[in-house]
C-alpha cells in the first residue's frame, strides 16, 4: 500500500479541505486574496486612462505577475505557521508523508488561484475593456500558472525562513528582481549584457512572455505552450524541492 504511490490521495484531499476550511474561517484574508489583483487591475486602467495602447500591452502582462506575489505571501506565511505551531511536526509523527502536506496545500491554493484568475479575467475583459487578440481564457491560464509559481516559491521559502517576518523579507529578495527583469519595464532584448541571460533563468519572465503571446496572437501559439510547460516544470521542481526540505 505504502509503496504504490509517493503520496496518499485521502490524506492529500483531507489536507486540502482543512486548508480551505482555515482560509474560509478568515474572511478578511479571503477578501484580500481575491480582491487585491482586481483592485490593481482597476488602478492600472486608471493610470493609463489616456494611454490605451500601454494598457493593452501592460494589462495582460500583469496577469503573470500579481498572482505570483499574492500567492507567494499567503503560501509562505500559512505553511510557516504550520511549522511554527508544531502541527507540521505532529503530522510527520503520523502516517503522513511530506508530499501529502505539500500537495494538499498546493491543491487548496490552486482552488483559490482559480477563483482569483476567473475574477480578475472577467473584470479585465469585461468592465475594464481589455482587448486581447487571443481567447480570454488564456489569461486565466497564465494567472493560474503564476499563482502556482508563487505558491511553490512560498512553500520553498517557508523552509528557510525562521519566522513570518523573514518570509515576507524574502519577497523583495526573491520575487521583486523577477518582477523588474521580466520584461515589463524594459524589453528583455534591450537589457544590459548579462541581465538578459539572467532574466531568461527566471520563471516569471516566461509567464509575462506567454501573456504577451496571448495578447498579440490569435489562438494558442507554440511559444505560449512552451512557456506554459516551462513554468509548470518549474512549479513541479520547486514543489519537490520544498517537500524535500520539510524535515522530520
Amino acid at each position: 500500500m505504502r509503496d504504490r504511490l509517493p503520496f496518499s490521495p485521502t490524506i492529500t484531499r483531507a489536507t486540502a479541505v482543512r486548508v480551505l476550511q482555515q482560509i474560509s474561517r478568515d474572511r478578511g484574508s479571503t477578501a484580500l486574496l481575491l480582491g487585491i489583483p482586481c483592485m490593481l487591475m482597476v488602478l492600472l486602467k486608471l493610470m493609463f486612462h489616456d494611454a490605451e495602447p500601454v494598457f493593452e500591452r501592460v494589462g495582460p502582462q500583469v496577469f503573470g505577475i500579481f498572482p505570483v506575489i499574492v500567492m507567494y505571501l499567503v503560501a509562505s506565511v500559512s505553511t510557516l505557521r504550520e511549522r511554527t505551531t508544531g502541527t507540521a511536526e505532529r503530522l510527520l509523527t503520523m502516517p503522513v508523508r511530506r508530499l501529502d502536506v505539500v500537495l494538499g496545500y498546493s491543491l487548496a491554493f490552486a482552488v483559490l488561484a482559480l477563483l482569483q484568475a476567473v475574477l480578475s479575467t472577467l473584470l479585465a475583459v469585461g468592465p475594464l475593456g481589455l482587448d486581447i487578440e487571443g481567447p480570454a481564457y488564456l489569461l486565466m491560464v497564465i494567472a493560474m500558472l503564476g499563482a502556482l509559481l508563487g505558491l511553490a516559491l512560498g512553500l520553498l521559502v517557508s523552509a528557510f525562513a525562521r519566522n513570518e517576518f523573514q518570509a515576507v523579507q524574502f519577497l523583495p529578495a526573491g520575487v521583486l528582481p523577477q518582477f523588474l527583469m521580466c520584461g515589463l519595464f524594459v524589453p528583455r532584448d534591450d537589457m544590459y549584457g548579462a541581465l538578459s541571460a539572467v532574466a531568461r533563468l527566471m520563471p516569471m519572465t516566461y509567464a509575462v512572455q506567454a501573456a504577451g503571446e496571448a495578447a498579440t496572437h490569435d489562438g494558442v501559439t507554440g511559444l505560449f505552450v512552451r512557456d506554459s510547460l516551462l513554468i509548470l516544470g518549474c512549479v513541479i521542481a520547486v514543489l519537490v524541492a520544498s517537500a524535500a526540505t520539510l524535515k522530520r
Binding site: 485521502t10 483531507a14 489536507t15 508544531g86 502541527t87 511536526e89 509523527t93 502516517p95 522530520r248
Partner: protein, 291 residues
C-alpha cells in the same frame, strides 16, 4: 550505563521503549549524554527534571522526530520513527499542536484522516475521543476560543484517536489548574487500565506519586530510573523532590571531585539489582550518585 540484551526475547516481552547510550549534540552543547533506560509495557513512567534538562529532546527521540547523534531508541521492538510505529505511538507536544482557527471537530476529523481512518471508523474515533477528554459541549467551538485547559485537551484528544500502544506526552499538565490536572490524570489512569504505556514528562515533582516508574534527569543526564519506593529507599528521602535534590547534589559533588582529582571510576555502570527481577524492572542510578 545499563545494557540489556533483548535479542532472544519474544515480541510480547519487548519493552515499550528501550533507549541505549542516547546522545544528542546541538552545536557545542550536549543536550543528552549517554541516556539509557527501558520502559516496560503498560507502565506509567514519569520523566522528571528541571526545565531545559533535555526532557523534550529525549521525548522527541522516542517519537522519532529528533535524530540521535549516538545510541539508539527502540519502541515496541522497532527503531523509533519507523513507519509501522506511526499509528501505534501517540505524541502530545508541550505547546498544544492543533489548528487554532478550526473547531474541535474539524481538528479531530482532519487528524483522524491523517492517521488513515476513513468513513465510520473516523466518525467513531472522533466521537469516542471527544467523550474521553470531556469536550462534547465545546465540539463545535473554534479552538482559539477555548480555555488553556480545553485547548490542551484537544491536543490530547488527537493523540488518542487511534488508541496508541505508547503515548508520549510532554508536560501535559503544566500550567493547568489543580481541577483540570486531576481530570487529566483520571484520563491517563483509564488509558493505563486499557494497557497503554504512558511516558509523561513534568517538572512538577508531586506528579511522581501517580507514576509506576520514574526517570530523573538533570542537565542532559539520567540520574535515576527506578520505581518510587526504590528511589526513596536508595536515597533515604521522604519524597521524590527531596530525593531528586539529593541525587543532584551528589552528582554535582562527584563532578567537582572528578575535575580536581584524577578520574575515578565514576563512569562505571552500577546497577542496584533486584534478584530475579527482569531487566526492564531493574533500578538504575547514575554511578556518581551512589553513596
Amino acid at each position: 550505563m545499563q545494557h540489556t540484551e533483548h535479542s532472544t526475547a519474544l515480541p510480547a516481552d519487548l519493552p515499550a521503549v528501550a533507549v541505549y547510550g542516547l546522545e544528542v549534540v546541538r552545536g557545542t552543547h550536549t543536550v543528552l549524554e549517554h541516556v539509557s533506560f527501558t520502559v516496560p509495557r503498560g507502565c506509567t513512567v514519569g520523566l522528571l527534571g528541571p526545565s531545559g534538562c533535555g526532557k523534550t529532546t529525549l521525548l522527541r527521540c522516542v517519537v522519532g522526530v529528533q535524530q540521535p547523534d549516538a545510541g539508539h531508541v527502540q519502541v515496541l521492538g522497532q527503531a523509533a520513527g519507523a513507519w509501522r510505529l506511526r499509528t501505534r505511538v501517540g505524541y502530545v507536544t508541550q505547546a498544544p499542536s492543533v489548528y487554532a482557527d478550526l473547531t474541535v471537530l474539524e481538528n479531530l476529523r482532519y487528524f483522524a484522516a491523517a492517521l488513515g481512518l476513513r468513513g465510520w471508523r473516523r466518525e467513531d474515533a472522533v466521537v469516542r475521543v471527544v467523550k474521553e477528554v470531556d469536550l462534547a459541549s465545546y465540539a463545535d467551538r473554534t479552538v482559539a476560543r477555548l480555555s488553556g485547559g480545553q485547548y490542551s485537551r484537544v491536543s490530547l484528544a488527537v493523540a488518542l484517536l487511534n488508541e496508541p500502544d505508547v503515548l508520549v506526552m510532554d508536560e501535559p499538565t503544566v500550567g493547568l489548574d489543580p481541577m483540570v490536572r486531576r481530570e487529566l490524570w483520571t484520563v491517563f489512569e483509564r488509558l493505563t487500565a486499557r494497557g497503554t504505556t504512558l511516558l509523561i514528562s513534568s517538572h512538577v515533582m508531586d506528579e511522581a506519586d501517580r507514576c509506576d516508574r520514574l526517570l530523573l534527569m538533570r542537565a542532559g543526564r539520567l540520574l535515576a530510573s527506578a520505581d518510587r519506593e526504590t528511589l526513596l529507599k536508595h536515597t533515604g528521602c521522604e519524597d521524590v523532590e527531596e530525593a531528586f535534590l539529593y541525587l543532584v547534589r551528589t552528582a554535582a559533588a562527584a563532578e567537582a571531585q572528578a575535575r580536581q582529582g584524577p578520574a575515578v571510576d565514576c563512569l562505571l555502570p552500577q546497577l542496584l539489582d533486584q534478584p530475579g527481577a527482569p531487566d526492564a524492572e531493574r533500578a538504575f542510578f547514575a554511578a556518581d550518585t551512589l553513596r
